[in-house]
Amino acid sequence: MSDRPGEPAGPAGARGEGARADELPDEVAAAAGQGVPDPEPAPEADGTWKRMHPVTPLVRGWAVLAVLLFFVVQQRGESFFSGGGPDAGDTGDQPFARIQLLVSLGLLGVGVLAVAAWAYLSWRATRYRVGEEAVELRSGVLFRQHRRVRLDRLQAVDVVQPLVARLTGLSELKLEVAGGAGSDVSLAYLRSSEAQRLRRTLLARAAGVGVDEAGEAPEAPEREVLQVPVDRLVLSMARSVWPVVGAVVVVALVVVVVVTGEPGIGLALVPGVFGVAAGVWGAFARGFGFRIAASPDGLRLRHGLTETRAQTVPPGRVQAVRLQQPLLWRGPDWWSMEMDVAGYAGGASDDAGKETVLLPVGTRAEAVEVLSLLLPDPGCEDPAGVLGAGLTGTGREHGWVDAPRSARWLDPVAWRRNGYRVTRTALLARRGRLVRQLDVVPHERTQSLALEQGPLQRRLGLATVVAHTTPGPVSPRADHLAAADAAGLLAEQARRARAARRSAGPELWMTTLAEQAREARDGAPAATGTPAAVGAPGAPGEPVRADAGAPGEPVRADAGAPGQDAPSSPVSPSEPSWREDAP
């Protein structure tokens, strides 16, 4: 009742805005559209401006509608109460309450209309165009935005289906580029088949493989690498920190309630319990049905229970990998993996933690398999031994450089684990005794390096080396090394990163792969779909050859040279591999 005078202003304002918005787009479009042909969506062919699927506003706005519906129900409920409640004995109130109800319903209707109008306008203003070299997205009703993403800068392509979109057969296509928060281009929502077709086409174009006139690219053959069984996911969560937290909370609750004799105190903890439950559910829903497949256009990750997400990370776009084993996963020897991909970490906050999981839980063999997909060439003798020492070992076996004894003063628990190993292709850094961690960074992905030393470290003759990679969950560092080792690592690493960058694969990674595919088709057709397909020249694992590629700019198509002189070398059985069974 008290808020009635204030109410009319809101919807009236909204209506006014809606009306203004109605006139604006055309003016703005006219002003902004110079040089751009009138973007009338022509069907099918790429290269023309197209709109999102017409149902998009509903899929996007269902939450708003739900909230409005909720208010309607609430209002009605309240008016029922005020109408039929005990205080309604005063009949003078009755018409007043009815008017109030009508007014509020009317306002609501206007509100719904305004929201719908806005959603329509925003849908109408959103158009995308897929070109040979770039994807463009125009959006915005009042403040217009025209974003152009170069395909050779594509870091990853995701097809995301929230629950409502799944029910309506729609998908969101997300093109990830490096460039901080909100730099991705999100085409939401498209028909799922169209999203899949676009994903294929874009990846093919980004890879430098031609597509035919109709813009059709053949689906790249893929080989399933692993699936995470649901029971293992559940067990892995049971062996995580959540049950412990839950048990502590419950015990604390019981103790407090028993001691104080006031059950009311327990209620105070309800939000916390909900928080924990939401966290557990989130982790479960994210990891549900996790599948990894390898294909020539990259690593494919598919996962999700309610919201499904199909990620494609092209070769060489994974900047760093972390393998991790919590204390309670030691029995079954399970490992989880996370990755840094330049496009991912800057995304919207609700995507945080969804995109960077490479493997929620897997056996050691599976983790090693995934690692060898990303980094096919270990670049060292006895890779399985090196990896084993990195995962669980201590000391200086297999060429690892560990921290000296004096490090125990700074890291009494895990100092024996701290260490690094430089292979020809990557930097490996291990740490953690209770929660074991191993970071792997290919040399050509290192952005910069830092050597750090605090006063205590100086006293003890120690120093820390940090490798900077693109933002993400993995931040490789080797703590508390002997100062001389650290300085040596810094110098060595700078040199190796330089060499590796010079011979790094081409940005259009498929130019070499296409060569291979052609050879494979002419010669032995069996080559596609084998692990060979993912590994491949563009991947981080390209061995450092002094003569490979042009020293300066390795980007253009002629950089296919390294692939030609040794098309099968990174994957031929005689090459060393991270896998145990390799010779």
């Binding site: 870091q155 490096a178 776009r317 900047q319 330049a342 050509e444 992905r445 952005q447 910069s448 390096l449 830092a450 050597l451 750090e452 030393q453 605090g454 006063p455 100086r458 003759g461 120093a463 940090v466 900077h468 990679t469 693109t470 933002p471 931040s475 100062a483 001389a484 650290a486 300085a487 810094l490 110098a491 700078a494 990163a497 330089r498 960058r501 790094a504 940005e507 300066g552 700019e553 390795p554 980007v555």
Partner: protein
């Protein structure tokens, strides 16, 4: 002796360090003094309100810190150095907590040159290199503006020549 050997860690062989302008020390001293003197205001107010002069003594530890900082700033600024090598830029700083950052030119995404009002008055500017990693902290403060711009242009052209993808 131990300190001698230790310095080698932050002093790779064959590297000629370029030091920054000592005017940076002046700017930092002013900033630090202002920061500490601001804390004198509540002490004075409190002393007046309570009419107890000894309340001012509460500020003494802050004053001591101020003196210490004033002395340290000179040495800190002297510890800042950078070196342009053939393929990468080295930046080192810090006395107590020392860091040495190696940034390959090809990794550079962009270069910032910035100068605040006090910086401009004393004729210094800050050059900062950015890579695709948020962790890269390669900041060279206290360069004369002309040097800063020359360095920026040189870094940019070197970055272009050695450009690498992500």
């Amino acid at each position: 002796m131990a300190a001698r050997a230790d310095d080698g860690v932050f002093d790779p062989q064959g590297v000629e360090w370029t030091r920054v302008s000592p005017r940076l020390a002046t700017v930092r001293r002013i900033g630090s003094a202002l920061g500490h003197l601001v804390l004198l205001v509540p002490a004075v107010v409190l002393a007046l309100v309570l009419d107890r002069w000894w309340v001012l003594l509460l500020w003494l530890p802050v004053g001591g810190l101020l003196v210490l900082r004033q002395v340290l700033i000179g040495r800190q600024v002297a510890a800042i150095g950078y070196a342009e090598r053939e393929d990468d830029l080295l930046v080192r700083e810090g006395l107590l907590f020392r860091t040495l950052v190696v940034v390959p030119y090809g990794r550079m995404q962009y270069v910032d040159v910035s100068a605040g009002p006090v910086d401009r008055r004393f004729g210094i500017a800050t050059v900062q290199l950015h890579t695709a990693s948020a962790g890269t902290d390669a900041t060279i403060p206290g360069l004369p503006p002309a040097d800063a711009e020359r360095l920026r242009d040189r870094l940019a052209s070197r970055g272009e020549a050695r450009l690498a993808g992500l």
